[in-house]
Symmetry: C2
Subunit: 430 residues, 2 copies
């Protein structure tokens, strides 16, 4: 029975265990060889005293190249000086796949590499415990999100990624040839999840890829990303903000508890943010920016410079609410008594936008009017608009960027660190 | 506090409840009006005796059009003749969004519609309890899959859908314009999940969209589908078949227990398949087909006609194993002592293929040889092949079609019933 390195304990002392993994290091002291075996859970020392192990095994271990894949059987011994406190004296040592040398990237991280080089050889980069820890935490984050949303009564759905209609007008779309037709990669499940409110599913979520043909290359944009989306009927913007802040707090809690080891590999201690998060009105936000020397004309989006000033006044997580209607997509619900402002919000972490949402317009006539005011044609929203004519409930929702959430939680400097195989303006491989 | 219709019980009798939903039916008996309110969990009768309810409420309920969205407050009464055993006498009845008439599709299912019409107005089709039940079960199936795979130590990953390399040669790919470059929609995460074995993640899974530009329109093919994929290091084909059959049995168990209500809406009783599933060798399979009058030359794939003959001899679920190497993709591992046969398998339900998998080739030289034998160029597999040179463990995996699994579990006649918004040769909207 195979054991992970992290599973070796007091109860194994004196017993034979089977280990699989990669050769992290070989230290050859002549008559004594130490091999550090690495698997996805950690490291263990394989100790080979020349006089005590089989000659063939000794020679094989002495010569094995770094990052080769091996199967080791051996007897466990307590050894305070070994990493983890145990060592294994091998009775079998099989090289399952020998690695070529030299390696294109140093897994032992003695030589720091540029991000581009690391991404070119991502399979080696991911073997570094600090990098692998990011994706173990990502796994935990995704399970935490689904567990929470299921508990809250949300139904998981999958909406199509090949679509005929742009979500928010025709910009930033990747075109596809779909047989004889022109089609696009969906930039957001927005229209579909709203249609599903018309379908009576009441509360849905989707975790799936979104595609944006944004030309600019920044440390916080990807051209293909994973979006966590919800939509909920009979809820307003306040209702879905409440879901969102409790979700974020829950993720931090779950990751703190379930990923203690991986957080320690990354040297991170998470502070679970307290709910409710502060609600900062857009009008207050531009006032703070103004006082900090950055003027935003009312109605415009907040610049990065403005957001950096605002972030200094706020806790780690906060909402910016009540945005000008003109600054948000056509489907955001304007306030009845003040239609130039809409029931929308952004969830911020410092100056990084994590999520964006709103109560949506559920009234057909108002929606058509808003589409026209935004300079678009209602005809191009055929199937979407139809769903508003035959019993569309009031509803609200948001989209949360999985990579941005992970990036902000772990303090990663570049969003490319939060996704295994990033797609950007220039990177399509691997 | 809002209650779902299904939550109304003995403890609510005499109390006021708040309900949200759609007007399923209005029966007007002059001085007595019955409104059937539908939400995603079921139905409840709203009873309006003219003399006992507010006149405005009475008139509003009498006139409300079917499929309008309403909020109803009222007092619960036990009423054995009402569906579910309870009725509500309203104290408030607000029409939140009035539906237009006539409806493009009958939600009460009195008039059966063609599939194409149903899909054109999918938001209305999905309001039918029998249709919604399919997607509630789909939700349960997806949670069951992830729970099981997490328990088995698999890590959830997301691999890119925009790729530069075809998985299995250049056929059946949708081309994309990716800035200046030519790119494709990925037809399978195969190459990426294998690279992740090289990355030392050991066991990964992904549930995500796959895209196939297959020209033919059948009841069991989609051009965009959800694939459940795993890849596991230090496992062979037998190991991952064991995971797969236990997963399928677990899904049936979980759906049986958690979706009792939705199965009853569909009039389905699930039989949990017994593990292990039978393993039928390819050679035996073509012998059975031959005896049934369908000759398959050794080395060729099994025709639908052959599979239908074979299915008659087998239980609901079975594996066809040990396929000719030439009939499977280049990455399937040939047997050492019989390289014309490979360590691959298909999981079948009757004559429908649900999943396909294999032990993979982990040896660089053999892999290059197989790519060349399949008439492809190793140069076009650059990043994939590199991962095999520096410590690729032995590994195996499979891909399981989510829609096929759901279709076969629920006995759906057309795979388009198993996905909310199908994409096929002709359908790109909604």
């Amino acid at each position: 029975m195979r054991k992970y390195t992290s599973e070796i304990g007091e109860e194994d002392v004196g017993k034979e265990v089977t280990l699989y993994g990669w050769i992290h290091e070989v230290r050859d002291h002549g008559g004594l060889v130490f091999v550090i075996l690495r698997d996805r859970e950690g490291f263990i020392q394989i100790t080979l005293p020349k006089k005590k192990v089989d000659r063939e095994i000794f020679n094989r271990a002495k010569k094995v190249r770094r990052e080769s894949v091996v199967m080791v059987k051996g007897i466990v011994k307590a050894e305070p000086k070994a990493p983890g406190g145990y060592e294994v004296i091998p009775t079998a040592f099989d090289v399952l796949n020998e690695a070529d040398a030299p390696l294109p990237l140093d897994v032992a991280e003695k030589v720091p590499a540029e991000l581009d080089t690391r991404l070119d050889h991502r399979y080696l980069d991911l073997r570094k415990p600090k990098i692998q820890a990011i994706f173990r935490i990502r796994h935990c984050m995704l399970q935490s999100v689904r567990r929470f949303l299921c508990e809250e009564g949300f139904i998981e759905v999958n909406t199509p990624k090949i679509v005929s209609t742009a979500t928010e007008g025709g910009t930033e779309l990747f075109p596809i040839s779909y047989f004889e037709k022109e089609a696009f990669l969906n930039q957001s499940p927005q229209l579909y999840k709203q249609v599903l409110m018309g379908a009576g599913l009441e509360k849905v979520f989707e975790i799936g890829p979104i595609f944006r043909a944004e030309e600019h290359n920044t440390v916080r944009h990807l051209n293909e990303a994973i979006s966590i989306d919800i939509e909920a009927s009979f809820m307003d913007h306040e209702g879905v903000m409440d879901v969102l802040e409790r979700l974020v707090a829950r993720i931090y809690e779950d990751v703190s508890v379930e990923c203690e080891k991986f957080l320690s590999w990354l040297d991170i201690k998470l502070d679970v943010p307290e709910v409710p998060f502060e609600r900062l009105k857009y009008d207050e936000a531009i006032e703070i920016a103004h006082e900090g020397g950055e003027d935003i004309p009312w109605g415009e989006d907040l610049s990065t410079a403005a957001l950096k000033i605002i972030a200094e006044h706020m806790d780690s997580h906060y909402f910016i609410v009540d945005w000008p209607t003109e600054s948000k997509p056509f489907y955001a619900m304007p306030y009845d008594d003040k239609p130039e402002v809409c029931k929308s919000f952004d969830l911020m972490h410092g100056w990084l936008e994590l999520a964006s949402g709103a109560q949506r317009i559920h009234l057909y006539d108002l929606l058509v009017k808003r589409i026209e005011e935004c300079g678009m044609s209602p005809e191009s929203f055929g199937f979407y608009l139809e769903a508003f004519r035959y019993g569309m409930p009031p509803h609200a929702g948001w989209g949360l960027g999985a990579e941005r959430l992970l990036m902000s939680m772990l303090g990663l400097k570049n969003i490319r660190e939060a996704i295994m195989f990033p797609r950007d303006r220039h990177r399509l491989v691997p």
